[in-house]
Structure formats: structure tokens, C-alpha cells
Symmetry: D4
């Protein structure tokens, strides 16, 4: 609760316009929906600009659906990620109106169908095998209200493939680069542009890629000064922060 | 054997009340039940305050059942953890009277149905996906005779969810915090209370969580001075030691 | 601020006994001392039962002394750990009345000289080389008001050395076990007692001890159910939580 | 070279306004200064919005000074990081007019003294020991032309220290959070704000912090969706990208 | 070829008793059976005292059977380890006379049924789940001609279980200790005896056992000076070297 | 585009033989085929001497087939590696004329059936289980036009198996050594020859082989000065570079 | 205490030949010397065949000297390892009669000068840099009473250097192989002999040798079945167990 | 000894031209020089095309000088690497005629001053800090008789720096790429050329470069098919194998 709001409340108490129990309740408004297996953060939209997002791994289909219901009941957008085949089928029955993208493994049930878009996000992959992770970033950046676009399979082994998109890069507000194996692409892209680059390592590669550790380390050590990193295969977070940056640049805070 | 007991035994020998072979046997009482595939520690209850507990991974259903039988025959409580689906079904047939909790993956067959409870244990999870591990801690703390309760999904991304349980924390004798991903919750909880906090890392998260290594390291490095750590996903041990601490505080040694 | 305190404050506001600016300030009392290089937590004693403790690594002597001054000014006990030779000499000049233990690398400046002790903490080391870490635990447990005692060099290679202290173990409220190399001692001690065991890995050993990683893993995997773990060489935290547990058992919350 | 520039050049060739050797040279303008031990990237300012920055580790003082000279000769700003004591003393003699910050270990020699600032960057540290890394971020963000400010020692063990700066956070365009040990602070800060959070792990902590690996993993696994990560102790990169983001929001591309 | 043999051969050449091509062939006798997918070492029995042993992982059933056939054809004993269910079924059809132990996953087809045994090997496990690995050691030690015996489930959490076998230990020529989790048992056993102890880590345990890495490190760091280590779950090698040691002591080189 | 080509183009522009749009297009010829899920590098054959090779992991069968089609349409040879059972079956239907090797998991569809071979490549394995990786190297070296041959199962435990192929080694232009477990073979082979040795670690072995990490480290640390290393199980790359080296020696650049 | 001894004692008690307090004392004879900083195991010689050995790392010179004094007072041999320059100088003053080997970093003060030797131990190094570790093994094996000999610098890059010692190997009771870098030598030696091989990894090598981890893994994965492993640079333990094995074969238990 | 040589020897024995002891000696010619601390491989030049090279780490100056003397006495070239300051000063006194390069840390004492060079080796570094390692490769490639040249500081953050050397790359027989931090340069270079690329990771970078592990992994995972890898900072081996490849292409086996 902001200082202004507290002051107003105290003044209402003094003026007798608000009784103490009501004041106490307001000061302690939970901002949550409590169910048996979850404490849904209904206040997050206000603090962070976007509602709580559901990470589906390790949850039963029923648990996921239960949280979706609470968000819907609170009139909030609902995005879920890492939706398994089984969860997807279950949710499709319960919420047939939702958009599911099986390549990205996302579930999207907006509170309203209108959505204005601002800012440009370019999402690039080094190889074709990185596409599912890139797609998760793409879906996320779009549902957060940005103009996102994909450029696929332009890794450094054939660097001319990358350079021909140069003009598109320089128009971007932020670039997401998705790469497995050597994870070298973000360093190269970073050296070509003046906007932030968000690097996403993927778990693609031979044994010593260690399920994404090799490209993760490459990216953390990127010699270009504008490269930031997220967790292995975490297309969602890359898309999310890309949208935060692009929307700001577009003059609109989330 | 304690010194007093040895002295008494020696006096009986001198007095001719005990013959030497009987004395030798007493001095060397095994305190075990030996079966083909196990040496069951029947003396543990006396030393440690609770009988041997069966860890079911890597065992056939027959082996597990065999150890249960020896504990039952010795009139001791029997708790088994990490019970697989297959083991669970087998045990349900052989010991239909036992309580099995499939979320916690526990098997519980008490020697007697009476159980007095003392001390307060709060078990908190950062997310919904941490629930199975928390449930193992919950079941364990309860069968060891404490008043245990669960608070689910109050991770640090929405810290108001946690703070609203503040009063409950300050009444606890010990708090168990279960978290995957960043494992940041125990540090925050630790900073709010004056009792010990037992942190349990879970194997939930994206690639660089490394199946629980990331939250394990976070917890070992917790900046709050009252945070102790157990192994990844080891809800059992957290519940066990929490009960030891809570029962002592309740004036009762296990 | 507890609910009771807020209610009272609101009633004072309504009664006109407290003006709004004063109420606002109380609701937002910082509980900190701010200096250029630190935000000292003066409220910690109230929440956690003991004032903030100063970890000296990575700090200049001047920074350490600055924080000590704030704690002293607030009338609080002051414990500092990991005090280097250089810091120790500097602090000895500025605070000659403080107790410094160079084996433990601690600095202790109590607000008052009276101190009642409750509860029993036994601190055991596997080898002689583990002594500095154990001493840090010992000093910490004592300044937190418990009866702490040390048993040195009773590792599992000569297990009779351990067993002769059996009676002392069974009288302890909690046992701290400090070990490097194989880190096997906590498992053995844990199997002999019914109180919690806090295991502290040390960085002593040959190459594949990896500066304490080997005993850390051993302890996390201890087969005895009552063993909890702290960070490598972190005698301080072991002593701290041991004191929390022992004082509670002694009927006194910190 | 952009397509427009190439077209113009080709038209000049056709018109006979530009001879072929000159055209070739332009098409292949090196954009570098070559010296024995370095190939200085004089074109970087044009591509990336800021000149090449000198990373001083592993270089002799003479090599560093040689690169500084080339940048100065080209009329470009010159920032150097990780300046050792020895390098600092050497550079102070050769470039007495430069600003050196020994806490941040930076060297700064701007081409011109005027500098307009836009955008707000908040830099927060969990502890006092994290200050040198934070200072590197602070200096970097300022020389890149933003309004940067520092908040020190507000880690999660005393979370009220953090919450009292809440208003400042919500006014920031981007927040840099610097933390060692458990690295938990970025997750908490991330959950409170709607702007990007750049997390910097530091090498502060006990053994199992592994010189910054523990907080690095914590931050990669941050449960808050707006947290990005840079390399251990890399305050420079955090400050650099923070400035990129803040300047854009301020309506000004670097 | 030993020097004596070469001298004799040269003397036969000089005496004209051996022509040059025959001499060349002898000097270069291959000592192998070559098949498409293997080069079977038929000379190993002579060098190492026991024929080549077949490690079945990564081989088709046909490949395994092919190597068995070559050893049988050469009149040598044939031991195969890590036999999968599929390989076992296949081999049972082709070599119905072989002894297969499915707990140990071994295949044994001796060249002759007579076998004299010498020396005493004790094989101990910390828990019941370690039994398959111990059984592989047991089978191996026996087919190499020693008196091997098993003691199961005597881990350090109940150390009296171990101590009651003390007399048996002191009669052993060598002891194999198999343990997962904390891997503490070899250190304790080592401190009780004057013969070599071979420690075998197993992949049993919670997350931070890292599939056997934790007990492997414990054992490499064993504080008892007589403990040697083999690879994770490598019961075979432990049984093999135990037999080498025991047979020597029994006055018989393999 | 090489400098000569640019000069010629510029002269054509000046001479009016080439209009500006055509010149622009030539200067910016993409050298790629763009499809929804891939940017096929059609220019790689020209730069690197061999067309792009398809790594099939993480791709749908349709994606693989789509890239094959583009290469075929461009008249280029098509090699695919790591072809799964499912992909293999799909490709067999679509491209029945292609050669598939299921042991090597390769797909090979040459643009023309003629192929001249030069240079000698020897591929050696330490064990039979290393054969699939060696076969991948073998197929690759052959389709790149060299005389490749396989020597199987000559590991260092029976070093005479290796030494009998000595003459063959000394005739090789390059040797590929494939080994799991201890990965010791390349060091031994390296010490016997004067040509480069390419070492390929495989994921064969007991627990502490860590799926190929142990032999990878062995090979990186090979005491013989002529040993280079590729990724775990990467027979393809070993065969590829072996062919590059052997063809050069054969007087023919790829 | 063995069963026979206990029976005798009980009979003496019954016969009145031994009073109860004396009996109690005998049953609980400590077998230790307790000093402030150590619990010296005076009973180890009886259990393990050799007195306690002092590991000097992490100890002050005074602590080391104190333990030496207790062993000397008890009439036992005294071996200390890892003696630093400072400790060595201190000990030389206090115990001028002791033998110190500065290459091996050992201190040796026997209780009596007579020493009969039995059994043959060969100690081999791969390189010259491995010599200090080998020397520690050599000194240890000799003070334990075996005929030990050294063969230096016969690594696998020039395997003929090794093969010329073949006859010596086949006469050994046990072979110790000391190697850094690739650690390949034990595998090769193991394949040539029928006795146990104890492998000692050293911390010699380039970066990816990781201070001995690379050869440690190589040795744990040795393809020869007779290779056992000790910790990195632990020449002491290798020499110790080698002596145990060689003395047994020589018909004499330690 | 080759088959032809053995046949000739046997024929001489038969013809009585060679007596048996002489024949034995020839068959067993050691090819080594044995000194107390080394077994110098005098036969390596014959097998591998270049004499044994001395790795100086872990050796005393006297040991190094001793081996140099043996090589000189045998009329062989002598190259030593990783020469420390202390060793360098010592060697300069004993062998003043030798060439020492302190940046590369090499010592070079050729048997004859004539040296013909063949083949082209390009050595590239990503940054200036990689120069010492590159210099070691450069010196090595030159003393092995190739035309080696250095290109410094052309990392991927400013890729135009690299591309301007394109013509030089395409003329090389082999390229050595030296890079720390992200290690991305070899992947980019590999995609531009048709010759082998040898990648050398260096220990330069921020914390998560882990002293060269990050670029090592990047290089092992290089997406370009022609990239091979050597150990961290091992410029020597890269230069050595580069020379082997270049000399072959130049029509001359080493």
C-alpha cells in the first residue's frame, strides 16, 4: 500500500468515515486467492504489470486448471507455460476458448480480446532445433503486447545468413537470441547492434553441451557488452523481459 | 550398554545370580533381526527415540515387506518412505491396515493407535510443485507426534503472500521451508523469526536448476543465520528433525 | 508491526491522541541505521532474538568498525566473524574492551557483561585440523548464552575415541559435528543419539576433497535421519542454530 | 555499410564521380586501428552506440596505454575496467587528466566534458561486501549518460531495509541488483516492480558459494519473471545494459 | 615374449632348427581372435591370470555371443558382466549350460567345472539397496577362486550391527565395502582391521548423492589409511582385485 | 565476395554493362534457401568445400525432409547425422534412393554417384561398444572422399592387439581414435606415429565416466603432443576433419 | 575387546581375583592419549597393524610436535606426512634424531632401528613432475617394512620406456602407478601384470586436468580390471596399502 | 623395430654374421637415456618426427637442465615449454646459446641452425590478453619448420576486424584460433574456410569463465564441422599439430 493511500485511510479513520475493523482489513488486504494447493497472487498485475503466470511442470492437470479458474474469476489474463501433452488435453476440455500453441507448449486465455501492440522484438535462432524455445519467447512477447517476429536458423557457421537481416536488427528495441551447442550467436549479434540482447541457451547438442550448460556459459561470457542471459530453454522469461523493454521504449509501461 | 547396567551385571555375576554365558550374551545382545537381505536395527528406537525407517528406493517389494514384518514382530512403529507405485500396491495387499499417502509416497503402520502430540511445526512451500516433498515432511512430522501444518505456494515473487502468515510463524517451534528454482524463500523466512528454519531444496525448475542443485546451494548460502539444510527432495529428513526439535521444546524427548 | 500494535495506533489516531504524521512515521519506522556503506539492521534483535552479526570478509577495517559503532550506539551486543589479521589489529585499537579469539577469528563486544546460560551444546571434531572451525562454533554458542563444550579429534578411523564420550552425547540438547575429508563422523554420531546433529564440513583434505565439497556431500547424504548441514567451514552458523535449539529446550526463547 | 550507402556509392561510380580504387577502399574501410598487440575497433561507436571498452586483465600496462592512445587519437571516449593497482599507477602518469575510481577499478577519459543524462538506474546491493562490484556498475551507468544511484546493504535477512526504498524502485527504468551468498535479493526485488531487473552475482561467501556460482545459479533460477543475469562480479556489463535500457526509455538511443 | 624365450628362438634359428618365417611368426604371434566387431584378447589369461571379461553395455546380444564363442573355442573361462534382460534371454538360449545370476547381472561359463578355492574375501553392504552391486562382487570373487561371503545392511546409522561381525573381519584377507548415500562405512571398517579395504560407491540416494558421486568422494577421502576405491557401482572390479589379493595371500598367484 | 569479383562488378557498372539493381543484388546475393523452419546455407560448399550437413536431433521428420529437399534442389550432396529410428523410416519413404546406415545413424544422398578417393584415414576403437560412433566417423570420412578403414577393439588393456597394426598406422595421413571409459588409447597411439590423431570420447562406461566426460578429459590431457579432441560421441566431426587433413595431403583441397 | 578376553575377565570377577572397579576400567580402557588439541589413538597399532600417522596440513607446528611426543611416549613408531617447510624446521629442532625427506615431505621417527623387510613393491611414475608424490609412496612403503623401488618417467607417450621394465613388474607383489595429465599409465600397466595396481592421480597438467581430476577419472575408469584408486596426490595411502598387500604375500601380516 | 629389420637381423644371425648377444641387444635397444629423475625418450624423433619436448611445470631447474643435456648429447633439437622465471634464469646461464621467448615462456636449443620451412599456419587471437598463449603456438609452429604468422585481437564483438583478413585465411593450410571468455571465434572462423581449425581456449575472463572451462566447452560444441580442440592455454599442442598438418600438405612428413 502506497504512502498516499495510507494517509488517506488514516484521514478517513480520523474523520470517522471508516471504522477500525474496515481499516485493518484494508491495511491487510490479502491480494491472494487461497486454494488447497496454491496461493494465487492476484496483486501481481498491479505490482508487476502482468498477472501471475502458471509454470505447469510438477503440477497435476487439476492443479493447473484450479489456478486458471481463480485468475479468470478475478478478471485477469491467464498465461501458462511448459504445458505437457496430458495437461494440454485436459485444459482443452475445460477451457475450449483458450489458445494453445503446442510447439511453444503455451496456454493463453486473455481476459479481453483487444490488445494494442507497441515496440519491436526480434527473436533469432541459431538452428532449427532451437525453434520450440524461440516459439515460447515469441508467444510470450506477443501476449504481452509487442510486435514480435522470428528469424530462424542463422547460426554463425554461415554468418552471411545473419548479416542479411542487419536492417531488421537495427530497428529492433531488443533482440532475443536462442542458441544451443556453442551458443556463439549472441556475441556476434551483440557486436552489431546498440540495443540489449537477451540470450537463451538451449539444451541442444552433443554430450559436452551438457544439456545447455555449454551455451549458457558461452552467453554469460559473451564478449559483447550488451548481452544478458536467462536460464536454459527459458524462452518464456526472454520473451517476458523483451516485452518489458520494448513496451517502455514504446512509451508505455506495462 | 550404559556403565550402570554393566556394573549391575558384573555384580550379579559376582553374586552368582547370573552365569557367565548369560552375562556374555547380555553384553553382546545383538539388537538386530537378521534376514537374508537386511539387518534390521531393532535397537534404534532405544538410541534414537524412533525405530528404523525404511527407504524403499532400490528395493524389491518383497524386501520392503520383509523388513516391515520384522519391525511389526518386534512391536515397533513402521514408517517407509519413497514408496513406488508398484511397492505401494504390493504393501496394500500384505498390510491393508497401514496408512499410505500417495502424494507423500509414505507407508505408516503404527504399533499402537494412540499418539499424543506436542510442539508446533510449520511447513511452507514456495510453489505448488513443491507440494509432494512438503507432504512427506508433513506426514513424517505428524507420525513423530507433533502438531504440523502446511502453508502452500507463498514464494518470494509475491512476498505479501508470505507476510500474511507472520503470526503463525512466530508461534512455531521450528519451520520447514520447501522450495525449488531459486530456493530464496528460506533466507526470507529466516530473517523474520527466532526459531530454527530447515530448508529443503526440490528438483523443480528450468535447466540450470540442475535437478535441485541451484536451490541447494542457495540454501547452504542463506544469509539468515538460522537456516539449516537437508538433501534435495528430502522432505522426510526435514520433517524428522523438525519433530525432534519441536518435541524437545514441548518438554518431551523423543 | 503486529496487528495489536496497529489497532492501538489506529485507536490513538481516532482518539486524536496521535497526529497523522506521527502515525505514519510509526507505521514506517525504519529500524535501521544508514551509513555510507551499510544499512545496519537494528530491528533484527526484536525479530530474530539476536542482533545483526558482522561477516568481515570483503570489507575494509573501517567499514567493519563503522558497523560496530552503530550497534554499540544502539545498545546492542556485537559479534563479528571471519575477522582477518589486519581487521583484528585495527579493531583492537578502536575497541580495546572487546574480546577477540584469534583461533576462531571472532570479535565479541557485549552490551552488558551479565549473561545467563541455559542448555547443553556439544561440539565434536573429527580431527585436530578442524579445530578453528569448531572454535568459531564454540564461541558463537557461548555468546548466545548456552553451555557449550568441545571434544576434539575423535574421527571414525578410531571409533573407540568417540564411544567413550557416549554419556556426554546423550545429555546434550544438540550436537555440532565438525569434519573434513570423508565427513563420516556426523552419520555415526547421528546413529547414537536422539537429539539433532548439525554437521559442518571443513575444507581440510587431499585434492578430491575439493576444499570441503566431499564432506559437504557426505553430510547431506548422511544415512542417520537426524543430521542437518551448514555451509563449508561455517562454524558460526552451526553454533548459532545449536544455541537456538538448546535455549528453547532450556525453556527460553532467544 | 547500409544498402542506401552502397547505392549512393554505386551511383557515384557510374557517374564517374568516384574512381574504382576509392570505391573499393570505401566498401572495405577497415574501421580499426592496428597496433602490434591489438586491433582497436574504431567502428564500434557507430554500430553499438559506445566505443570499445578496455578489459585490463591479462594485459601489460603498456598494452592498455597503447589502446587508450588509439581511442584518444580517434576522438573517442575511453573507459577501461578491471584496472589493477599497477596499471592504475602507470596510467595515472601517462593520462593524468583521466578519472580513476579505485573502488570500482575503472579508468575514464571522456573525449569531451559535456554529458547530458537521461533515464533512472537504481543499483542495489545485498551486503556491504558487494560494494566494489556495484560501484563498477554505477560508474559505468553514469559514464554512459544515465542518472544512476546506489542503495547499499539491503539484503533479504532484514527485508524491511529493502521495502523502505519501494518508491524509489517504482520510479526506476531498470534496477541492477548485486548480491553474493544466497543471491536471493533479485527474486524479491523482481516481484515488487514492473521494470527489468539485472542481477549480478558476486564472489562473496562461504565455501559452497563457490566464488559466485551459488548466487549465479540462484539468479538464473529467479522465480520472478523480470530478472536477467550477467557473469559473476561483472558490474560493468550490468551497468552497461542498464544504461542502454534507461536511455531508450528516456527517448534517446545510445 | 620373455628374454629367455627370445634367446631360445634365436638359438634355434642359428641351429637351423627353425626357419625364418616360422621365427617371425612366433615373434609376432597375435594372441588374439579377430572377428568383425571385436579383437578378443586370448593372451590375457597368460599375462593377467584370468581371461578377458566381457562388459555387455553398448553391445548387441549377437556381439556378446560372438565373443563368448571365441573364448569357448580357445578353451578359456568366460565371465560377462552388466548383462541386460534382453542379452540374458538371448545368451540363455545359445549357451544353456552357463550360470546366470540376474541379481548380479552376470554370465559365467567356465572351461572346466573344477575349481579350488583359497583366501577369504568379506563383502559388506551398508544397506539392502546396495545388494545388486555387492552380489556382482561376490560372484566375481567366487569365480576367481576365493572363499567369498556376504554381510548385508550393516551401515553406520546402527553401528552395533557392524561390530558384531568383528571377528569375521579380522580373519579376512581383504574386505569389500559397498555403500551409497554418505558412503561412510569403509572409513569405519578400515579403522577396525589390518587388511586392505576396497570401497565401492553405489548410485543409491537422494538428489545430492548425484548417482554415486557423493559416496565416491567420501571413499576417496576416507580417513582410514587402508581404503582403496573403484568406480561407482563397479562391484565387478572390487571382486576381481579382492580375489587377486586373497589368492596371493593364499600362496597362489592367479 | 572476393575483392577481384567486386572490382569486376564495379567495372561492369562503370561500363554500363550492369545496371545498379542487378549489381546490388549480386553484392547481396543471399546464398541461402529460406523455408519456414530453416535458412539453408547453399553457399557453404563454396566456402568450406562441402555442403551444409543436417544434424537431426531436436527436429521433426518433416523439418529434416524439408532441408534435404532444398539441398537436392540446389544440386548439392546431402549428408544427415543422428537420424532417429522414426526419422529414418520417414526419410526412407521420401528419399528411397538415399543410403542409410543404421549403425552410424547416417543418411547420405549424393548429387552424383561418382566419387574419387584420396588420402588414408584409419579409425580405431578401444572397445566393441565404441563401434557406432566409429562407424559415424567412417561413413563421414568416406562420403567426403577418402580411403577410410576401421580397426575395432584394440584398447590398452591388451596392447599387443594395437601394436600388430603398427604398419597400418604409419601409412595413415591421420588417425581417428574412438574410446570410452579411461580414454587412454589416443595417448598411446599418439606416441607411436608422426601424423595427427583425432580423439573421440564415447559415453560408454561405469558411473564415474559421467557419460563421456572422463575420456574427454583424458584426451584433452593426452601426454602425446599430436592429439586433438572433438565432442563426446561426435564421430561425425572426427571423420569430417580427418577427411579435410587426408585430402590435403592427397594434394586435393576439399 | 575380544570375546575370549571378556570371558577371562568375567571368570576373574567371579573368582574374586579382580574387583569390579578394575574390571570396569579394563572393559573401558580408553586406548587414547588426550591432549588439548588431539585425541591420539594409541590402540590403532593393535587394530590396524601400524600406529596412527600424522597428517600435518591445517595444524600448527606445536600441535604436530605434541602428537609426536605422545606416540614416542607410548613407544610407538611415528610417521608424519605433508610436513610443510615451517613444520619441518620446527620438528628438526625438537626431534633431531628423526629422518625427514623433503621431496616426500615426510617425518619418520621409529621406535626401534631394526626393521625386517618382506615383499616387493614397484612404484612407477609417468613423468618427472610426479616424483614428489611417488617419493611419498616410496618412503611410506619402506617404513612399513617392504622392499620398495622406484621407476621414473616411463609414461605412455613413449611406451618402450615402460616395456623394458617388464620383468621387474612381473616379480612385484603390487605396483603403484603415479601419473598426472591423462593418467593413462595405470591402464597400460594393469593390462601387463597379474598383481593389483594402485593408481595415484597427481595434480600436474594443463587447465582441463583440473588439479588432478582428469587423471583421477581416467584411473577410476581404467579398462584393466586390476586397477584401484586413491585420492589426488595421495602417495602416502598408495604406499600404505601397497605395503599391506606385499607384507601379506610375504607371509606376514602387519 | 620394423618387420624388415627383424628379418634382416634374423638372417644375419643365421649367417653367423651377428652373434646372439648382439642380436638380443639390438632387438631390445632401449632408445632412452636414464637419469635419476627422468627416462629421456631418444627414440621419439624416429617414431613421431620430432624429439621429446620438455614440459617444465613441477620440475626443478636442475631436472630441466639435466634433460636438456641428454637431448643435446644425443644430437637432438630441444624445445622446452612453460618455463618459469626461475627456470629461465637458470637455463640462460647453463645454455646461453639457446633462444628463450619470455612471452611464450619457451626455450629452444636446435641441434643445427639450418631449417627449411614449408606450409602456412595462421594463428589468430580473439583478444590481446590471449597473446601469450598464441605466442607459444607461434614459436612451436616455427621451430617445427612452418611459415607461421599471428593476427591479434579480432574477436567476434567487432567481426569486421576478422573479415578483413579473409584472404589470408583461405591461403592457410591450417588455422589456430586462441580465445578466452565466450570462445566464439573458432566457430565463426570455421564457417569461413575449408581447412582444419584448431581451437585453443584460454583462462581469460570473468568468474563464470571458470579459468577457461567456458571457452573450452564452446569450442567442443563449435557448430562448424572443421573445429578441433586442445586443452586450456595449451598453445604448444595447437602449434605442434598445426605444424604436422601444414608440413604434410607441404609434401613433407615431419
Amino acid at each position: 500500500m502506497a504512502q498516499d493511500q495510507i494517509r488517506e485511510l488514516l484521514e478517513q479513520v480520523r474523520a470517522g468515515q471508516l471504522d477500525i475493523d474496515a481499516a485493518l482489513k484494508k491495511l491487510q488486504w490479502p491480494g491472494v486467492a487461497e486454494i488447497d494447493f496454491a496461493t494465487v497472487d492476484l496483486h501481481r498485475r498491479q505490482r508487476c504489470g502482468f498477472p501471475e503466470i502458471i509454470f505447469c511442470e510438477g503440477k497435476t492437470s487439476e492443479w493447473v486448471a484450479g489456478v486458471v479458474r481463480e485468475l479468470v474469476a478475478a478478471g485477469q489474463d491467464c498465461l501458462a507455460t511448459r504445458v505437457s501433452e496430458e495437461q494440454s488435453a485436459y485444459l482443452a476440455k475445460v477451457f475450449p476458448q483458450a489458445e494453445q500453441d503446442r510447439l511453444a507448449r503455451t496456454f493463453w486465455l486473455p481476459a479481453s480480446s483487444e490488445r494494442e501492440t507497441v515496440g519491436k522484438v526480434s527473436i533469432i535462432t541459431a538452428g532449427t532445433s532451437d525453434l520450440p524455445v524461440a516459439q515460447e519467447a515469441y508467444v510470450t512477447a506477443r501476449v504481452l503486447g509487442t510486435n514480435a517476429s522470428l528469424i530462424v536458423d542463422v547460426g554463425v557457421a554461415g554468418i552471411h545468413r545473419l548479416l542479411r537481416h542487419y536492417d531488421r536488427f537495427t530497428e529492433s528495441d531488443v533482440i532475443v537470441v536462442v542458441a544451443g551447442m556453442d551458443g556463439a550467436l549472441p556475441s556476434v549479434v551483440g557486436g552489431l547492434v546498440d540495443c540489449p540482447v537477451i540470450a537463451v541457451p538451449t539444451s541442444i547438442g552433443y554430450g559436452a553441451a551438457f544439456s545447455g550448460v555449454a551455451p549458457l556459459l558461452t552467453m554469460l561470457n559473451a564478449c559483447s557488452a550488451n548481452v544478458l542471459v536467462v536460464n536454459i530453454d527459458n524462452g518464456f522469461k526472454a520473451g517476458y523481459v523483451a516485452a518489458l523493454i520494448a513496451r517502455r521504449h514504446g512509451g508505455k509501461r506495462t
